[in-house]
Structures are given as C-alpha cells and as structure tokens.
Symmetry: D2
Subunit: 346 residues, 4 copies
Amino acid sequence: MIKAGIIGATGYAGAELVRLLLGHREAEIVWYGSRSYVDQSYAKVYQNMFQLVDAVCMDDNMEEMASKVDVIFTATPQGLCASLVKEEILQNVKIVDLSADFRIKDVAVYEKWYGIEHKAPQFIKEAVYGLCEINREKIKKARLIANPGCYPTCSFLSVYPLVKEGLIDPNTLIVDAKSGTSGAGRGAKVDNLFCEVNENIKAYGVAAHRHTPEIEEQLSLAAGKPVLINFTPHLVPMQRGILVTAYASLLKDVSYEEVKAVYDQYYQNEYFVRVLEKDVCPQTRWVEGSNFVDVNVKIDPRTKRVIMMGAMDNLVKGAAGQAVQNMNLMFGLDEAEGLRMAPLFP
Amino acid sequence: MIKAGIIGATGYAGAELVRLLLGHREAEIVWYGSRSYVDQSYAKVYQNMFQLVDAVCMDDNMEEMASKVDVIFTATPQGLCASLVKEEILQNVKIVDLSADFRIKDVAVYEKWYGIEHKAPQFIKEAVYGLCEINREKIKKARLIANPGCYPTCSFLSVYPLVKEGLIDPNTLIVDAKSGTSGAGRGAKVDNLFCEVNENIKAYGVAAHRHTPEIEEQLSLAAGKPVLINFTPHLVPMQRGILVTAYASLLKDVSYEEVKAVYDQYYQNEYFVRVLEKDVCPQTRWVEGSNFVDVNVKIDPRTKRVIMMGAMDNLVKGAAGQAVQNMNLMFGLDEAEGLRMAPLFP
Amino acid sequence: MIKAGIIGATGYAGAELVRLLLGHREAEIVWYGSRSYVDQSYAKVYQNMFQLVDAVCMDDNMEEMASKVDVIFTATPQGLCASLVKEEILQNVKIVDLSADFRIKDVAVYEKWYGIEHKAPQFIKEAVYGLCEINREKIKKARLIANPGCYPTCSFLSVYPLVKEGLIDPNTLIVDAKSGTSGAGRGAKVDNLFCEVNENIKAYGVAAHRHTPEIEEQLSLAAGKPVLINFTPHLVPMQRGILVTAYASLLKDVSYEEVKAVYDQYYQNEYFVRVLEKDVCPQTRWVEGSNFVDVNVKIDPRTKRVIMMGAMDNLVKGAAGQAVQNMNLMFGLDEAEGLRMAPLFP
Amino acid sequence: MIKAGIIGATGYAGAELVRLLLGHREAEIVWYGSRSYVDQSYAKVYQNMFQLVDAVCMDDNMEEMASKVDVIFTATPQGLCASLVKEEILQNVKIVDLSADFRIKDVAVYEKWYGIEHKAPQFIKEAVYGLCEINREKIKKARLIANPGCYPTCSFLSVYPLVKEGLIDPNTLIVDAKSGTSGAGRGAKVDNLFCEVNENIKAYGVAAHRHTPEIEEQLSLAAGKPVLINFTPHLVPMQRGILVTAYASLLKDVSYEEVKAVYDQYYQNEYFVRVLEKDVCPQTRWVEGSNFVDVNVKIDPRTKRVIMMGAMDNLVKGAAGQAVQNMNLMFGLDEAEGLRMAPLFP
C-alpha cells in the first residue's frame, strides 16, 4: 500500500485528490495537510467526506511528511513546493507538484510570468513534465513530477498530433479556452461569488495568462522550433470542465480522414484520450468527474484552417487525476488504477 | 458475474444504472433496452460512455431478456413493468422495478393517483418495497422489488425514527421537498428547458403529487395507524439532489440529544444513512453522485415542533443506486458493492 | 426632483436602488455612499453603470448627507442606521432604512435575535413598518420607514388575508422559504462562492433565523393575538427570487373559490400583488426584476390544510423596490413610479 | 402612438419585444401573433405578463395585420417573412424582420447556407441591414429592415473600426463566440433541457454556422474586398448574453492608445456602444437586459495580433432591442426610446 501525503488538501484540487485516492486500491492517504485548517476535522471542511475520512488536518511540514509517506502531492500556490523541496526529501519520497514551480525549464521565463523568485532552480532540470501521454517513460523513473496545468493539458493534447506531424503552422495557433469556476480555487473573493459568476462569461488574463509560456514550451519541443501563440482563457458559469477551441493554418491540403488518422495513430492506445467520431464536438458534460480528454477536429476548406477541440475535467485530468496517473506510473502500477470511473452525467 | 438487463436504459435513471453497473465488480450489463433508440449505439446517446460501452440499444422484450439475464431493471414510465411481467418471467429472473407499479399495496389507491389501470395486480402482494434500510431481510428473498420513489426514499428515511418511536404526531407531518431537474426526466418539454428552469424555483403537484400516497403508506406502516400528510415538491435549478425539510409536532418534551440518540440507534449500522453532527444541516452538494442520505434534525422549543432534514442524490439513492443496493441484497452480495464512491464535490 | 442619498450603495440592495432610481422620473441620486469604496468610481465597482453613473463613492456621513438630500436610503448591516439617526437629521430628511433596526417594535426581541444593543430605541415607536399594502396611510406621513425584510414581505403578503379573516389557525403556520443567493449579500465568503452554491440546496438558520420575530410581529397584529410560527429559509442556486410555501390548518371548511375571493378582496386594488388564477403556482422566474408579488393558494381537503404560496424578487419588492415604493408614498408621488418595468424573462 | 404587430410573439425574441414595447412611450402592441397559441391568453404563455398584457394570441395573417398596424415585427424561423411579404403590404406598413431572410444580399449565398429557396428575392435589394450604428441614415428611409443576427451584431461591432481603418488583415480574423441558451429558442428539444445545458460548454456549427456569411458580407463591405473568416459559436449555461473574442493580425505597429482612439472615434457618439477603459474586459453580466454592447481590445506584441472583445445581450441588442431601435429610427423617434433601462445585475 502506497502511503500518500497531501499538502494543500483543502483546496479544490486537493479535495479531488482525496476523492480519487479513496477509490484507489493501492494507495492510502496518511497526511492531510492544510495550513488553514490545522487540527480541524477534514470531514468538517469537506462534509462529503463525513464518515469516509476520519482525520484532522495537519501542517505542511514536508520534511516530517517525507519520513512517513511514499509520495507527496503539493496542491498549493506557486512557490511553496519550490521553497520546501530538498535533496534529502527527494531521497525519501517521490513528489508530484501540482503547482507550476517545475513545469517551465527556463527559470527566467518562470520568474517573469509568475513574478516570483524560484527557490529551487537546481531541481528544474531533473523534474519531469508529467503529461503522461507524452513523457510516460521519463515519468516512470522520476523523483519529481511537474504536474501540468489544466489549460496546458487540454490545449496541448488537442493540438499535439498536428504540431508534431508538421501539418499546421504552430505560430498561427490561437487557443481560445473556457473553464469552469473550480479552476479559480476556493479563496473567498468577490469575483468568484455565485452572483458574480452565474449568468456571466468573460475573458481574463488576455495575452498575459501564466499558462501561455507552459503551452508554448511544450509546443516548441513538439515542433522542434520556438512557438508563440495566443491563449485566452474564459470563465464559464459551471463548476468543472475545460473546453479548448484552437485554430491554426494548415500547411497542406488534408482531408478530415487524414487528420483523423493522425490523431488515431497518436492516441489509439491512450485510454484517457478519446478521439471522437466525425462531426462530434467535445463537450465538458461528457467527461465530468473522469480522467478523459475528448478531442476532435474540423477542417475549414474555405479558410484553410483546422479547428481543434478538446474537453476535459479541470480537476481530474487537469489536476488530481493526472497526478494520480503520474503516481501510478512512478510506482509501476496500472496507469489507470483509481481512474476508471465513468463520467458522471447529468 | 450477474447478467443484468435494463429496460429504459436511455432515461436519466437508466443511464445512472449503466454508470453504476460499469463500476460493479460482480455484475455486467448484457441488454441495453431503449424503445426510442433501438439499433442505435448507446454511446452515441450518452457520449460519456464512448469507448466504455460498446453496445447498441435493443427493444424492450422482457420475455427474451428473461432468458438471457439474471436481473432486469425497469426504468420506465408507470404501467410498463406491470404490463410486461408474468409468472414465467419471474421464475427465470429477478426484477427491480424503478417505476411506481408495485410500490403501493392498495391497488385502488394506485389507480386513483396514477390514473391508469393496474395490469398485474396479482404481483402487488408479493412485491417487496425496496427500501433497503427498512426491508432488508424481505428484499434478500424477493423476486420482484418495487424500488422506492426518490421523494419517498428521502422523506421517509428523514422522519422514520421519530414516527416509529412515537415521538411525533405523524398526522401533523408536512414534507416540503426540493428536487433537482433530472427528476423530471429526459423528455423534450418546454417546462424543462434550461431557460425555463434556470433562475427559477416553483412548487408543483401541490396537494396532488403521486408520491404522497407512497410516503403515507410507509408512514402508516411505521406508525401502526393511518397517516395523512402534506407533501409539496419543488423544482430547483440544479441537476441532481433532493432536499427534504419536514415538520411535525412533538408528542413529548425531548432534547436534541435524545432525538439524536434515536436516529443513531436506527442508523448507526446503516452505511448509506449518515446522521450528521449537531447543527449541521444536510446539503445536496455533499451527497452528489453517491448513495448516501444525510439526515439531521432541529428542535424548535418555541413551537414544540421538530424540523427533520434529509439530503440525497435523486438518481442514486433515489433511483439507480438503491436499485443496485437491492440487487446486491437479492443476490447475496456485499450490499455496498458498486456504491462506495465518495460524493463528487464541487 | 427628489434628491436621494444612499448609504451602502455598493451592496446588492444598494446597487438595485441605483438601478431603480436611474429609471425614476422624479428622483435623482446625489450621494453614492460606500465606506468600502470611498473615492472610487461607482461605475468601476458596478460596471453595468459605465456611462450611466458618473460619480465617485462617498463616505457614510449621514449628517452632511442630510443637508444635501431629501431622502436617505440605508442599505447597510444591522445597527448602522440606528447608530447614525438623530432628531436633527429626521427634521431635515426622510429616511428609508433597509436594515432591520426599526422593524421590530419590542426592543428586547430585537436585541435578543440580533445580538446587538439598539442605539436609537427612541425612534422605534415612530418608525413605520413599510409594507405599503398594509400601512399605506401611515407611510405617507412618516419620517422614518423600516423597510421590511425580504422573507417577511413575501411570507406576510402570502398569508395575510387568511390570517386577517381568521380562516386559518395562525399558530399552525409553517413557512418554508427559498431564496436566491443575492440575499446573502456581496461579502467575500467561501459559502457564497459559485462552486459552493451551485448544484446545491440547503436550509440555514433553522428555527433561529432573524426574520422569524419580524414575521411573527406582523402576524400577531393581523391576528389580534400572539403568533408563533416555524420559519425555515433555504439557499437556492439562483441569483434573485424568493418563493414562500406556507402551510396552515383551516378553521372552516372553505372552497378554493371562497379563499380566492378573500385574496381578491384584499389585493384587487394592489398593483404589485398579483393573485394568480386557479391551479397556477407562483414561480420566481415570472417576477424577476420587477416589484410584483405573485400569490396563490391550494386547499388540501384530505388534511384540512391550506398551502399558501408567494413569489417575489428579493432585491426589488424584497428590498430596493419596496424602498422606492415607500419613497413614492412619502413624497406624494404615484406609488408605482419607477417600478412599472415588466418582469424580465428568460 | 405607433401600432405594432408581432408575428412570433411567443418565442424568446418575440417575448422580449413585448417586454420592451410595454415600456415604450410611443408604441403599443395591437397584435400578438403566435401560430402555436392561437386564441390562448398571451399572459398564460408568458406568466410574467399577467395583468400587464390582456390579449389573446392571433394567427400570423400579415395582410390583415398590415391593415391594422404601422409596423410589423417578424420574430419567426427563416423563410416565413419572405413567404408572406408583398408589395401591397410594404405600401401600408414598415417591417422589421428578425429572421435572416433579408440580411444577405447574395441570394445564392442565402440559399446555400440556409438550405431553403428564397420566396421574395425581389425585396432583398431594397431591404436595409438594420445595424443602426452603421446604416442609420438608410434605416430612417427604409420600408423593410433586415434586423441583424445576434452573433453578427456583436462580432461586427467588436471588430468594425479596425477593419474599416485597415489596421488588421480581415482575412486573419477568427471569431470565437459564446452565447447563452435563449439564443437556441423555446423549442422543446432534448439538447436544450436544463440537465443537458447546465454544467456544460460546447462548440456547435463549427465551420458551418449560418451567421458566418452574414458577418463576412458586412466585413467585406467595411474592408472593401472579399473577406473569409472563421466563426465558432459556443453554447454557455446561462440564459442571456453573447461574448465575442476575436483575433486578427495587425498590419501596423500600433499601441493600445492608438487603437482605443480609433474605437472612440467610431463609437463616442453611439449611446449603445460602450468602449471600456484600458484592461477592462467586456462581461455579459454588465449588459444583461440592456441594449448596450461593451467592447474593448488587447494588443499582444509577442504575436502581433489584436484581441477584440464584445459583450451584449443576445435578446436585446442581438434581437428585440435592435428591432425597437430600428423602429425608432424608421419613425423619426428618439433612437433610444424604450431602450434606456440600465443593465440588470445581479
């Protein structure tokens, strides 16, 4: 039985980790870390866990935790994981960091977009970007995983095959993304109140969102050259779900069937990426609560562009689910253990 | 492996049965019945099941189904199950009927409130009312289960201990219930459109809802005398969830602690009924997607009334989950098999 | 042109006052008071008012305000109005207090339920409870109006005719109320975040909500004897709207038509109270954005109870609209000026 | 007093026309046309109008209507207006057609995208595209107005100044639009049920939506050359509102201030177009229920693209409000009469 500790167990991503690990047959949570709720019953904070979790929240002491667990998940704001991680810790436990601290290889880019100093740049090179479908073999051998951001996961998986195959010009990529409100976290902010979010849609972080360089770095690796894109996130009045609509110019005349074949080639053995059938658009309702990413494309012969679409649950494949998937790979388990639940609908 | 067939697999309750049975380790669905979608791929109707269910919808032939399955779930409108069931069928398979056909023992009451003739009154006596927490032993031996209605399940479990113990006057009971919209089904009706349901709350079926006699019959059995109540359902702009707020006059001066002790006595061994801690009100968000019923009470010494509250997912404990729980009991399985998932939040 | 000042202009009720007064032909706002946003542009806080309101928020100085305006609206937390009001102020301006400070005549009851000391008990007697349909003539002559609470307005108007006529036993009254989330205010609280409110319904303040004694005091006046009731509010995932479902035992055998005639007698000349037609239940969607209260009743001959229902917009008739209605009466204007907009649907 | 008749008064756009015209001081509705509800009380279909509208629905007889009214609004499916309009009718009344029948000048394009034969091509040339901010003078003299589509109104006004001024390459335009569900109409379809729309976002009509050629035609006129764009609409779980996020490559190095100056130049005298302040993104909540379009832009120097954004209420400026604005212009009234209401929030 793998012993797991969570730092930040009372945020939405942390709570989703709890839900998923409770259903995992080879892992158990032994440390519910939450600086804000130290000594309080976890099930009082998340009452869905009443009679399921019988634990109190503990402080975020990574060193002590490292002596008691096999894997640590950090579901915390940027900067915290980097400020805590040390070589001695990594010699004892594996870490899956759900924050952005180790996602971007160029520390200057990280510091510019996040506006904070990186406290542990020595681990950036070692850290593996935990997009399982792309870096599976590296993940299996990693000590430190940079769990991808929600938008980058959905954006990248939606466009990856065409970038990798050189069928589109990556510098024409425009990613228009839409997210449910759980992505904004559980902080008490006026902007996230029910009456402010409901009956509303807005763009935010336009031309400035921090997930932009993360997506660009992965795209650059896939394209083999530097890529700059436009990325615009939007806030949607729903709880879970990310939808990506991406646009790019085609470099060749290709049919839908040819493009579909490329997607199938890349994803046919990927349990969690579902390439939909022709003319079926991804919808967030069909993946809610699950680790699936649904993708499909549409070609517009009039403009010679392709529209690439992806839908995913931001808290599962976009955060906690992918973290568990990474854990499974790191510990040599069935990659889908604990993640086989069907999407919940309605 | 238990082979299951579903009649009405494309309604919301039927779809929830599919979701739950996919996660059940000792049952598999071999017949997806749906008169409206015969010969169509099930995963095209419910796209969340893409790559999870590889079956086409079949007609509702109960006789043929009975030769191929061990248990039949009928998640269909009132009257259909009664029109199909026969002694020869019941000799081959067990039936869990999610409709109201066999819930009410007095056929005249059924025919009056439902406005249709009962086509199989000969089975009413044999049918067991499948409220597992109350009729567990009978269920284990039953061939035909009348799976309780969503409102009756939540209403009855919320008030049962106090009625049974004679602490309240059951004829003062007023049950004010609120339900998510999935309870209204997947029929294409203007009243259930997003723009009609959203930003709205309304009562419906006031003093006339068909679940009233079902609740009253069970209450009468518990009280040992005829009981008449007021029951008012309301439609809430959410997908899942039922909340019951019930009021009754206390027959004795009792403290909260005494009442709590009564609830604990009845429910402490019931995995799916969670008696909350003092001053914690049930909320539908804490049970979503799960088979739990959360209950609690509040005493008002000023009016000498008790307010009893219960929250539950109408599609799980109020329909498909309870049906699976009944199946588990009928086949001698662990009662909670396939139903242990934690509630999904947010 | 009546000059109006608002204390608390950046709460939801205050903002609704701004919306309504902008459409009022005989009033204009000259003071936007908001302690939290002093010196900030009002239209930056409420961007719907961009290019419509060209003013900055000012402090809550009631004395200075009194020298510049004809009427002051206080849309503030309990206690503030009582702490500011003085005889010299009331000699200069009329005050419509949207808080509870002057609603309850018995200061001991106020202090018990609200848990604060009343700072201006000397004005309680003079203050008029501003339920226009009941106290119209007193309002016309008042200097200080206690604008009724949202739940009390809807609850009381829904049951008033039957209480006044002695057709029901008021001590059997149970008021089960449901409110949209704007009633919870614009404070940044986790409980009011989108992800916590959406897909959820809960009761709160059970047997302890502060609107209970307010409703009881008005009912006692109507019944001519002390009345105790049960009142249970619920939070509904919608922005606006209150629905009241009230239950009471009938003291006589009466038909729906007889009860309807009583309602018509009380309300046929009331523009803002609409007695619906037989079997039509009030719904919040049909009053949104308007000052209407829709009411109707249903008789249950089985239990000899009557179910009384009312729907209203909590921010309009339940707060800002009724405040404007009171202002209109106090200044001798057409009672409906500024309040004739039809409900917005969908 | 202008007498107005509505064909299709019971759809969402028709109902919004009723709401707006009830508040209009110089127009009154004398004919509520609704083929589906002939002889039924209008206020029974739209209960918000109880005691406000005392009329029964009538058939869609345009000829008879033309003898009784001054202006006819057709809020009906494509093809109906074209099938009814005749020279004799246009000699008697003005027509504002809310359908697409007369929006596209090239009848072949109309017939291809809409898949129906145009029944009155002889009026296409005469019909004026009723985008008031662009075609004001032509509208004043028109007999037949093609009221613009909801998406085209918001899309076009968001990008128009930069296209007209030649600052962007119009053939790089990508319009990613998001709409509330009222845009899908009041038809009883499974896809528009609450449980299907809520907690979901999806693209639809990808590379094939009928509003594409309408936007392109207007853009081509503005650019002075043929323009092809990508247009992708999305369905959002809210009732009202359209948000447009549009992307294009800049043809020159320009600063935000220069671009802002261009928008101000085009819109500073337009009451209904609000150019927001720097870094403020349009949001649908700030225009709900009003005739405003809020626009703003963001420049991305990294990619040399500009992101243009617009928010609007699809039922008001996107349908009924613009129709009333057109009527006002045609009859020489104040253009904003009946349309000055502030946006409703929350």
